[in-house]
């Protein structure tokens, strides 16, 4: 597997604060790599260092096998960036904005025209080409921001929190678009603090906290890191302390908590917990309205590793 990006021991400090702390990782060709971490964990700083927008204290960055520097124009030509803040000209229409930013990479007029059309189609902005940024909703503006960053069909794409404060329709459009870009052969680095997004989108995930990698791997691999297998929640009419103790004694049960007749049962390993629990509830004649089972989330992983919630 070819590495498109190799980062070795990257450290970037703002005065006392180590925003990125001895970070090492690589990105494989053709994958979507998720950089997941809470606000302030150093995701944007990492990306800005990778792009040579920021000077850093130490570390090495190689992109497409070459050292990345501020004037590595041949590398920059193959990279597309969608920044966290929307960066467009207020005075230009949707079309002209995409055309301008694409034009920074693509000189040929006809090629550019075709590329701009493609970007508009990908982000679903066909109806809005004549609009000015001021006239767009938050979600559409984000989509424009993405179109401006990827119109030149780069081989490597950075997307920094492209779905912050976006309506569900736009979010789906954005996530679909990213999948299409990957199918077209691009390698993608995607940062977010939404764990659901990396779970459904990313091939590999790196979890960051305080500028450090605290875990990395596929979604499945990361979940192995917790010793939770399954979490079942039951809303009961009433339940006695004795019955709770009996549940706790069932096979593989790690812990049982009850808060206002909502009982959650965490299983360490094993199978068919659900069936066994239902059988127990039936035998004890415990009435319940709702029962559901969950697999562990990345939030559980994060909680396990750092002792705090991923969500703000």
């Amino acid at each position: 597997m070819k590495n498109v990006i190799e980062v070795r021991n990257l450290t970037k400090a703002y005065k006392e604060l180590r925003a990125v702390d001895d970070l090492s990782f690589e990105v494989h060709e053709g994958e979507i790599l998720g950089l997941l971490g809470p606000n302030g964990s150093g995701k944007s700083t990492t990306i800005n260092c990778l792009l040579s927008l920021l000077q850093f204290e130490s570390g090495h960055i190689r992109i497409f096998g070459k050292e990345m520097t501020p004037d590595a124009y041949d590398l920059k030509a193959q990279i597309g960036v969608v920044f966290q803040d929307v960066a467009v000209f207020e005075e230009l229409t949707v079309y002209d904005n995409i055309d301008y930013f694409c034009g920074l990479y693509i000189g040929d007029k006809n090629t550019r025209k075709a590329y701009v059309r493609d970007a508009i189609a990908l982000t679903g902005l066909e109806e809005f080409v004549k609009f000015y940024p001021k006239q767009l909703s938050g979600g559409l503006l984000r989509r424009l921001n993405i179109a401006c960053g990827i119109a030149h069909k780069p081989k490597l794409i950075f997307l920094d929190e492209p779905t912050v404060a976006v309506d569900p329709q736009s979010r789906n459009n954005i996530l679909d678009g990213i999948r299409i870009l990957r199918e077209q052969g691009a390698t993608i680095v995607y940062t977010t603090h939404y764990m659901e997004e990396v779970e459904i989108l990313c091939d590999r995930i790196i979890i960051l906290d305080k500028g450090r990698v605290i875990a990395s791997g596929t979604n499945e691999e990361l979940k192995e890191l917790t010793d939770i297998e399954e979490k079942v929640t039951v809303e009961v009419d009433r339940i006695s302390q004795e019955q709770l103790a009996q549940i706790k004694a069932l096979e593989h049960v790690k812990e049982v908590t009850n808060s206002k007749n909502v009982v959650s049962i965490v299983y360490r390993e094993g199978e068919d917990h659900f069936g066994k629990l239902l059988a127990f509830l039936g035998k004890e004649k415990i009435r319940y309205h709702k029962i559901y089972s969950e697999r562990p989330t990345l939030n559980d992983v994060f909680l396990e590793l750092t002792g705090k919630e991923l969500r703000d």
């Binding site: 792009l51 927008l53 000077q55 920059k76 990279i79 960066a87």
Partner: protein
């Protein structure tokens, strides 16, 4: 030339304001030319002139006083008693013109020096007429003095020459009224050029200078130097176009003057000032990217310097203190040049020299503004990295 083209695309969004400045210029110009057309009978009424002769012994000074009396109503100190001084007298239009003959004028003049006669005027046509007469006297005197005549002979010659040529002189080849209109137009253009250039350049530049937009350019393969050069070129082309447009208007408004040598000087002078306005635009465009703040700054800069330096009202009306402050503004030197050009009887090297000095001062200001802009831009970049 992507950046260049986009610059003008952005500028078209702000064309309204630039058009507004131009319309203001046109309105004022048309208004002024019409009102002055109604009062062109300046030969009919003699100007009121206040003469202060500090060289009472001197024969040449005496002759000059007599000469002025022939052409004007001379007022003495008793006529100014209601007013605080000469400035007030001018302001309330009690006199059109004041002349102060310095001590030892006659002696110095005969010795080959050219002592300054201090004149102040309200800038109307009667004053222009007086200016012309005074100039004629001094040139004649100068001519005979250079020929090596001594005092008595000199005075006799001057008297005769001036008498002979009165008729001819009144039909002077120089259209003083037109020139004064030209100066008015170009003085007012100070405001429109400054406001237009500064506004357009600062606004378009600030769009490109926004951090997020710059960042996008910085991650793209476009070369930083080429990016900046294209912006520079776009600003230059815009300033040049605006200037050329105003020159074109001046050909419509004061056509006769513009085809003279003085007209050429007006054009050259305003070109130098356009360069300076360009540099001011650069400076202000680098101060802030906040478009609302820009509007305020531009009004202060363009309106303020136009008022202080006499673009709207004749320089002679302004208090000395204001004019002293105005020295630190490029508009002052530009307007001084316009005033000088309007008074030029002939265009010759000696007359042009002071114009060149003023022009150099304006260019010096431009260089200073560019230097300051560079320092600011460098600091801004360092802060971002």
């Amino acid at each position: 030339m992507l950046v260049f083209r986009t610059y003008f695309k952005i500028l078209t969004k702000y064309k309204g304001i630039v058009i507004l400045y131009t319309v203001i210029l046109l309105c004022f110009a048309v208004f002024n030319m019409q009102t002055s057309d109604n009062s062109t009978n300046f030969t009919a009424s003699r100007p009121d002139v206040y003469v202060e002769n500090k060289d009472e012994e001197g024969a040449l000074a005496g002759l000059l006083c007599d000469y002025i009396k022939e052409h004007a109503e001379v007022k003495g100190p008793e006529d100014l008693k209601d007013t605080e001084g000469v400035s007030d007298a001018l302001f309330y239009r009690q006199v059109n013109y004041t002349v102060e003959i310095p001590e030892n004028f006659s002696e110095d003049f005969l010795a080959g020096e050219r002592p300054d006669i201090v004149v102040r005027s309200i800038g109307d046509y009667q004053a222009a007429y007086m200016e012309m007469q005074l100039e004629r006297f001094l040139q004649t005197a100068s001519l005979y003095q250079k020929a090596g005549m001594e005092e008595k002979q000199l005075i006799k010659q001057i008297k005769e020459t001036l008498k002979e040529t009165v008729e001819v002189e009144l039909k002077s080849s120089v259209d003083k009224e037109g020139l004064s209109k030209g100066a008015f137009f170009y003085n007012f253009a100070n405001y429109s050029l400054l406001a237009g250039c500064v506004y357009a350049i600062a606004v378009a530049l600030s769009s490109f200078r926004r951090d997020c937009i710059r960042r996008r350019a910085n991650v793209s393969p476009i070369n930083n130097l080429r990016y900046n050069l294209q912006l520079l070129l776009a600003n230059g082309v815009f300033a040049f176009a605006l200037w050329a447009f105003y020159v074109l208007i001046s050909f419509v408004m004061v056509k006769d003057v513009m085809f003279t040598k003085q007209g050429l000087l007006f054009i050259a002078n305003s070109f130098v000032f356009a360069l300076c306005a360009l540099s001011v635009g650069f400076l202000i465009g680098n101060l802030t990217t906040n478009k609302e703040a820009l509007g305020g700054i531009i009004n202060v800069v363009a309106l303020g310097s136009s008022f202080l330096c006499g673009a709207f009202v004749p320089v002679q009306w302004l208090p000395d203190a204001v004019l002293k402050i105005a020295h630190i503004l490029p508009s002052y030197w530009y307007i001084q040049n316009n005033e000088r050009i309007a008074k030029l009887e002939t265009v010759e090297p000696a007359a042009i020299k002071p114009l060149l000095v003023n022009g150099a001062v304006v260019l010096g200001f431009a260089a200073l503004f560019v230097a300051v802009t560079n320092v600011l831009a460098k600091r801004g970049r360092q802060r971002r990295v």
